[in-house]
Amino acid sequence: MISIIWSELRMWEQVYAQKTLGTVLRFVAVITAISIVRPEMFFSGAIFSGLYLGLLAGKHTWSPAKPWEWTGRGGLPPLLVIGGKIIAVVLICLVHLIVLTPVAILTSALWGIPAWVLAYAVLAILMGAATTSAWAMMGHYLSLGNGSLADLFAVGWFAATLIVPPFRLVNPLWLAWVILNPEKTPLFGKGIIMGLALLFLTIFAIGILMRNERGYPFERR
């Protein structure tokens, strides 16, 4: 698993770091500068940045090898491969959040956002990125590696959880609103537990899909 994480991070840093860091920085800068660094806008910007990173990771943009290559050639269990990739995207997302720290500090001081709210927001952003990545991976796998379903699945889970009221608790955007609204904050823990449950369900679902595919499914087909 460590070799999977390391290879993802190395490839991202060598080829894509400049691009993704620049994109996230520009996007968050625009959205916060026009809104007096309002926390809900900053959090929204950071969440969409997480979704963007999750989608790219889910499409294996910076992966040296696809999951089925790891399971086939490397003989690694599918869950280990998917888990490694998810951890890698979480770490990459964290690097982006470090770059966004100055704006977080500004937001926090100007709008009186306590540190625990920022910590909760980081959790929501990371969970959103990881879940998007997992859904994009599933779409990517189901579309036989050409990635046509990856975008649909990544946007789909996010849109569905935003639209369907009972599932809103797992939506990172809704969670950001929850933590900025003291009346609703107690729901955050529940949202994170449900979000993690959804994330692990998705990972296990990909694992089940891949379990019987040893080797190169697309070559066999």
């Binding site: 840093e13 060598q14 770091a17 400049q18 691009k19 860091l21 620049g22 920085l25 520009r26 800068a29 625009v30 916060t32 500068a33 026009i34 809104s35 007096i36 660094v37 309002r38 926390p39 809900e40 806008m41 869950l79 690097v95 470090i98 770059v99 720290t101 100055p102 704006v103 500090i105 500004l106 926090s108 001081a109 100007l110 709008w111 009186g112 306590p114 009972p166 599932f167 608790l169 609103w177 900025l180 609204n181 003291p182 009346e183 529940k190 537990i193 449900m194 449950a197 959804l198 692990f200 369900l201 296990f204 679902a205 694992g207 089940i208 379990r211």
Partner: protein, 530 residues
């Protein structure tokens, strides 16, 4: 079922269980009592006593009324403690024609109980005299004797019904009490002392001797005279006298005409005429400027040809340090763009102060065409009594004030256009008026002294100590003139120290940012000031 299947089933069950929320119900009752003896004094704060019976879980209580401009005012108490029964005292301001007050008890979104009180039918625009333990014939005599001067209503209350909140005595002109002994609780004693200091009149009927009397709890020293002064108020100890004689009471309780009864009490001193709202520098573009510079440096970094993750981290570190320093500087000038205007009137002696705070959060709602949920405003008053309130915007409701404690000392007078006017009382933590005056003068940005005939300002001459007379009223004072003029009418024989600056003990925080300045007034006898 395989291992993975079992885990999937467990997670699925967890997901589904969390979606379905349990609902629990309890039998509850609620009783609401406003004013004294069912009557409220218009244009004054009146006590509201709410009793909750049944299991009080983690629900909330909401008070809905209209302010004098017919705008809705909402105060809210969150009930965090679970228990059987709870009493909440919440002074409410009654408009000149009374108001309709709704009290709602919620458990989540579910309305457990609701009660409506219409004070319009029970207003009494005159002097209210509370009687505690006084026989009905004596009560009648008091009412008859004093009503020859002014409209007067006596209301019999039990000892336990005397408000614990200082604001609850706003509409009370006098209290006639048969000495019950030292039975009042500390909150009641403190409130009565403050009410007396502001000009209240207490008549103790049949006072008990020494430490068995209420005077031993109320006063620092046992009284030696039949009448003693306490600030602007007085306490009369009436032993044996002809209670049935009207003339006797006319000599004991002196009531000014109701309309011009300017006691030091919140509804009489905090008038809005002449209050100039002076918003603090908002500078909404300053945070944007920082973000823009940060982004430009970042974009340059992202165009660098070489791999540069370490440069990104170094950039983030430096920018974070700058953001920290810059935001601390900016936050002190900004308050999220709010206008915060605080006025304080200290009571004579060390009987605390009344506060009036207008908070106008400007940046809620729409901004550059985006309509998003406005954030709650967190306001903390930090003295010996920490109290936090949230000015929270509801989706379909105006701003509402959410109390952090059921023993609150701050209440909503009105919902100003876009903001909120809060009034409250805080105790004094300094021993003497002299110490308080020294502390206020030291931290004042502007200060002046009115001795009843002339204005003085601190001497600018280093060689000359003290105060120098000035021919004209200070310019900054003229801006607040009407408000101070009203205060001067309360007691012309007193001198008044007036100023603008930091308050010595109280710290106000709006969104964790300290509010440094307030207009303040301290009454001082001329000899003390000299």
């Amino acid at each position: 079922m395989s291992g993975i299947g079992r885990i999937v089933a467990f997670l699925l069950a967890l997901f589904v269980i969390n979606v379905v929320m349990p609902v629990h119900a309890e039998r509850v009752e609620m009783s609401v009592e406003v004013g004294f003896g069912g009557y409220v004094v218009p244009g004054r704060w009146n006590p509201l006593r709410l009793e909750l019976l049944g299991e009080t879980g983690a629900g909330r209580i909401e008070f809905h009324r209209q302010d004098r401009n017919r705008r809705p005012v909402i105060e809210r108490f969150d009930l965090s403690a679970v228990g059987n029964g709870l009493i909440i005292e919440c002074p409410v301001f009654s408009g000149e024609t009374g108001s309709r007050l709704q009290v709602k008890w919620f458990d989540g979104k579910r309305l457990l109980a609701e009660s409506t009180v219409d004070t319009a039918k029970r207003i009494f625009p005159g002097h209210l005299v509370l009687t505690v333990g006084v026989p009905p014939p004596v009560e009648e005599t008091i009412e008859e004797s004093l009503s020859e001067q002014e409209p007067i209503l006596t209301a019999a209350v039990a000892l336990i019904e005397l408000p614990q909140s200082t604001m609850g005595y706003d509409g009370v002109s006098a209290i006639v009490m048969t000495d019950p002994g030292p039975l009042l609780n500390p909150a009641q004693l403190r409130s009565i002392r403050s009410w007396l200091a502001g000009g209240g009149q207490l008549v103790l009927r049949r006072p008990r001797p020494g430490n068995s009397g209420i005077a031993s709890a109320l006063l620092p020293q046992l009284p030696t005279a039949q009448k003693i002064s306490w600030g602007l108020g007085k306490i009369s100890f009436m032993g044996k006298f002809d209670e049935e004689a009207k003339e006797a009471w006319q000599g004991v309780i002196k009531l000014a005409p109701f309309i011009t009864d300017y006691r030091l009490t919140p509804s009489r001193i905090f008038i809005d005429e002449g209050l100039k709202v002076s918003p603090l520098p908002k500078s909404p573009w300053l945070p944007g400027l920082f973000v823009t510079i940060w982004a430009m440096v970042g974009i340059v970094l992202s165009r660098m040809p070489r791999r540069s993750l370490r440069w990104w981290l170094l950039f983030s570190l430096i920018a974070s340090f700058l953001a920290f320093s810059y935001s601390q500087w900016l936050a002190l000038r900004w308050y999220r763009g709010a206008s915060v205007q605080t006025r304080a009137v200290y009571l004579p002696g060390t009987n605390g102060a009344y506060f009036d705070c207008h908070v106008n959060p400007l940046y809620t709602g729409k901004w550059v065409g985006v309509d998003y949920q406005p954030l709650p405003w967190d306001i903390t008053v930090d003295s010996d009594w920490d109290e936090t309130g949230l000015l929270s915007p509801g989706k379909d409701t105006p701003l509402y004030w959410c109390h952090s404690t059921v023993q609150s000392r701050w209440h909503v007078l009105s919902d100003d256009t876009g903001g909120m006017n809060l009034q409250g009382w805080l105790p004094s933590s300094l021993d003497t008026s002299e110490k308080l005056a020294d502390s206020l003068i030291r931290s004042a940005l502007s200060v002046a002294w009115w001795d009843g005939t002339q204005w003085f300002t601190p001497s600018e001459d280093q060689d000359q100590d003290g105060w120098q007379p000035i021919e004209e009223v200070p310019e900054w004072f003229v801006e607040q003139n009407q408000w101070f003029q009203r205060i001067q009418q309360i007691s012309p024989q007193l001198g008044w120290l007036v100023g603008y600056g930091a308050l010595p003990q109280e710290s106000w925080y709006v969104q964790k940012t300290s509010v440094k300045t307030a207009w303040w007034v301290l009454p001082l006898p001329v000899e003390v000031a000299e």
